[in-house]
Amino acid sequence: MQTDRVHANQSVSINSNYQKARSPWMEGWRRLRKQKAALIGGGIVILFVLIGLLAPVLAPYDPTEQNLKINLQPPSSDHWLGTDDAGRDVFSRLLYGARISLTIGFFSVIGSLVIGGLLGLLAGYFGKWIDTLISRLFDMMLAFPSILLAIAIVAILGPGLFNALLAIAIINIPTFGRLIRSRVLSVKQEEYIMAARAQGMTQWRLIFRHVLPNSWVPLIVQGTLGIGTAVLDAAALGFLGLGAQPPDAEWGKMLSDAKGYITNAPWLMLCPGIAIMLSVLGFNMFGDGLRDALDPKER
């Protein structure tokens, strides 16, 4: 009886170990939990996401409400981070800024991930002239320093938040495209893909059922790191006056507005800069940790 129970326990234990080893996500999560830097990064990201979501609740003032009677006030109990040249509350603008920056970051990465991913998938899977055409297109886009290409796109389309988002999405297409292409090239040589093909599975079904699910780990890692870069690029475009336009509370634009007041109101430039750096740092730390946890070969 007891022997039976021991066997049963062993079998459960072997079975659960077997299941753990079979689930790369659980294995990844286990590895991720061990990395302090990644957890701190993840914490920072969650904090900024919450700030962005709860900005209307947390902000003590309307971020666009002007009051010239109280402009350029230093930090006080009424205005925790002071007021800007138009008398707007810097703390409230900073909270709403998280919303704009993270929105650009998320949606631009989703855009480049979908388009780049699809192009990379086609290039890697079908090869031949499709691969040559798409790969040359990526080469051409990568021939430009990325922020310069973004500046060129916004210079053409005209300044604005949506155009900045579009520009950032476009410049990152080749990064995601190349990544998925190289991944697909190796996955399609795997035996299970050949077996599925031999069974008569259609090409599109094969791509979406087998090739794509086995190629998206590096995309998730790159996507996380990409959000950080996109936040930085969006702030750069905002700083140059090509992104958010007044009276939008965007971090880069806030820095640009603060430029003229570094002598008499330095707090105006300190806070948005720290916010940009912290949020990008969060995404970078979390992305680095994710890469180590999900794709140990890339370490």
Binding site: R136, L137, D139, M140, M141, A143, F144, P145, S146, I147, L148, I151, A152, A155, I156, L157, G158, G228, L232, A235, A236, F239, L240, G241, L242, G252, L255, A258, K259, I262, T263, P266, M269, L270, P272, G273, I276, M277, V280, L281, N284, M285, D288
Partner: protein
């Protein structure tokens, strides 16, 4: 090696061709009639017509492209719509200013980045390694335009150590020989001016060097860790060689090829970052020239500025690739 060089140069042709199409498309991608956008909606229809003819917009697209290509290959970048001056002539001093700033920043980035990376790999998993890599992570996440403002506030406004704006003191007349002011002032034997120019380049140089320094440090560390595992390093140590020589003489040479690639790629960060840094520090380079052209909707200058910066980027990356082959001869067989 010659075959590899020719092959690599052959790859360049479609890239340059594609880049020329993208740059050419800039003016055509403007929503609406470019001539109307440039002159404004209330402009005289006759003026719009003249500008269309001047820009060649009344010709078929392929004819316009071949004219554009012909001009570019002859080294003619066109005329600025605002100043009415030939862009090539206008751009030379701006280009030299950007080159001087980019080279200065790259020197800072290589010196600090490579040594920080070596130190980290050498003292792996110590507080020194963790500290250096944390610093590198902050560097990668740093908005350089913010760093520029903080530098100005701290070193110019608060401490009054370094100048806020410009490339040289406005009272100094520097005779341009190479257009690199650090060299020109030395050639003129004017040490006073040289120090002034050096003081002007320090803050923008550091701001621009931040991200490349961090990335070079991370890459050097990773590459050195890989090399330090090898048998010949253990042998060198077993021979009694001092760690310093093992790391700097034996390991660094073998770890340098990937670092070199990163250095080449970082030139793109420098050229892109130049637009931001030059705008903050009033540095009269191509970045500022381009930024002002965007404000003035001078599309001829925007096209030329982007074309020139992208060409430099492509050519430098070609040189880096060839140097990579020199450092790592295995690459030829791929």
């Amino acid at each position: 090696m010659l075959k590899y060089v020719l092959q690599r140069m052959g790859h360049l042709i479609p890239v340059l061709f594609g880049m020329s199409i993208i740059v050419f498309s800039i003016i055509h991608a403007i929503p609406g009639d470019p001539a109307e956008v440039i002159l404004g909606q209330r402009a005289d229809p006759e003026a719009i017509k003249t500008l269309r003819a001047q820009l060649g917009l009344d010709q078929p697209l392929h004819v316009q492209y071949f004219h554009f290509l012909e001009r570019i290959l002859q080294g003619d970048l066109g005329t600025s719509m605002v100043t009415k001056q030939p862009i090539v002539e206008e751009m030379v001093p701006y280009l030299a200013a950007t080159a001087e700033l980019a080279i200065f920043s790259m020197i800072i980035a290589v010196i600090f980045g490579v040594n920080l990376g070596i130190l980290s790999a050498w003292r792996r998993n110590t507080w020194l390694d963790n500290g250096a890599m944390a610093l590198a992570l902050v560097g990668v996440s740093m908005p350089i335009f913010w760093l520029g403002l903080v530098e100005q506030w701290l070193f110019s406004v608060k401490l009054d150590w370094l100048p806020v704006l410009g490339r040289a003191d406005v009272r100094d007349t520097i005779t341009p020989i190479t257009h690199f002011y650090l060299i020109d002032t030395l050639l003129a034997g004017n040490t006073g001016q040289f120090w002034s120019v050096l003081k002007h380049i320090i803050l923008p140089g550091i701001a621009l060097a931040t991200i490349p320094t961090a990335i070079i440090a991370r890459m050097t560390r990773a590459s050195m860790l890989e090399v330090l595992k090898h048998e010949y390093i253990r042998t060198a140590r077993a021979k009694g060689l001092h760690d310093f020589f093992v790391v700097y003489k034996h390991a660094l040479k073998n770890a340098f090829a990937p670092v070199l690639t990163v250095i080449g790629l970082q030139l793109g960060t420098l050229l892109g970052g130049a637009v931001l840094t030059e705008t903050i520090f009033g540095w009269p380079g191509v970045g500022l020239y381009l930024f002002n052209a965007i404000g003035a909707r001078d599309y001829a200058v925007i096209q030329s500025g982007i074309l020139v910066l992208a060409t430099i980027y492509i050519v430098v990356n070609l040189i880096v690739d060839l140097l990579y082959a020199y450092f790592d001869p295995r690459i030829q067989y791929k």
